[in-house]
Symmetry: C2
Subunit: 224 residues, 2 copies
Amino acid sequence: MHNLLSNLRVDINSNLYLKDPESSSLGINIVKSSIDLIDLHGIEEFNFKKLAKEIGSTESSIYRYFENKHRLLLYISSLYWGIMEFQVVVQTSNMFDDMEKLLKALETLFSTPQTKCTSFQVEGQKLRHILNSEFVKAYHHKLVDEENEAGYFSIYKRLSSRLSGMIAAVNTNYRYSNSLSSLIIEGSLNQFFLSEHFHNLTDCHSKDNLYLFYKDLLTKTLTS
Amino acid sequence: MHNLLSNLRVDINSNLYLKDPESSSLGINIVKSSIDLIDLHGIEEFNFKKLAKEIGSTESSIYRYFENKHRLLLYISSLYWGIMEFQVVVQTSNMFDDMEKLLKALETLFSTPQTKCTSFQVEGQKLRHILNSEFVKAYHHKLVDEENEAGYFSIYKRLSSRLSGMIAAVNTNYRYSNSLSSLIIEGSLNQFFLSEHFHNLTDCHSKDNLYLFYKDLLTKTLTS
DNA sequence: AATTTTTGATAGTATTACTATTATATTTGC
DNA sequence: GCAAATATAATAGTAATACTATCAAAAATT
């Protein structure tokens, strides 16, 4: 498994970039450093001028890779969801009990992405932190419909669909597998955010607690 | 009850504005027309220049009421949550069965805010639509911690806390009432958004279906 | 070595998000 | 009804952002 993981290349929609960042060291630097900067200061404070300074390049060079910072955020988001999807698939592949499988998927969703196994050697925690704080802004966006149409969210949607399938496998009579799936995936980002910024709005201040909360929710909802 | 409703004044944190918009017809116009414009074009496309043109006033006049459009969005959000909280309190006030009470609160959260009863005579649907699309951006914001400290989210948090209390009343042994409460409130916005923009990610394409989904989730989670 | 591609350096534009100033209404107190 | 206070309008201006354009230099490819 380690061999597989060490060569992970997420198949990101090629319209998200102008030039494939994985095709050059500048491109890889752009993505790596943008993850560092967005993690540190947030997407609002982030711009291509600052990024250029950080990597010792120029704005115009960065614009040759990405049309704008929003597209770059979508790229980073796809990277995250691609890694998570891969981890969910790997972790659940040899399981036969449907509930066990679902719970393993759940656990995986709350774990840190194995970013080290891609071309972008960054801390998985940084990537996760960006998604927790910024992903909602990526899709609550004025262009959401045309970007969705263009397939910029397809990995995210595919993951949600997989999870929905696992839910349906556990209980074929359950009528809300899609809603429950997106609730969990959304929650896997949001509850971390709440813990960080609105402490009193959640009881889950650790990965483990979060898992137990959703495990309880899932098992009771699907088996009673 | 109708008398009460017709005079609803939400107590919004006075630091959110420079001059109380309810104190003049220009102020009321600013809020009303901003709701119209944000509903129509989204917060990104919205600015004080366009708003000034819309109401036949000037940017400088608007800046005397609100420091910037972000604060205005927080004001509008507080208005929404204040109305929802009021409705939840009114609707559940005479109920004695805890589960019945919780479900009534849930139902109320999915209903349209009674905006007509405030100084701002706008369509409740517009307000709800703005919250569905834009509220996440209001709190996934670089200044979230200091704004939270300043009490700009207090109505939202109080509503979540109320709901959490209702959950705890139904099942005193349940350990995640805060998380479940925020999950529901968050969901009351997000699932509508999914239905509009990511149709396949949810099974709930009506208020009624949404209610049934969460009712199922709540009853199974709290009573089994 | 020649050619193509990539990157850097520099300059410039339109828009946004404000701030400042002064003039003109409008309201309020007497 | 008039003076004083306050609110609003009109206009101008600034700093930052999000780009676009152009050309030269460097690097990679053939």
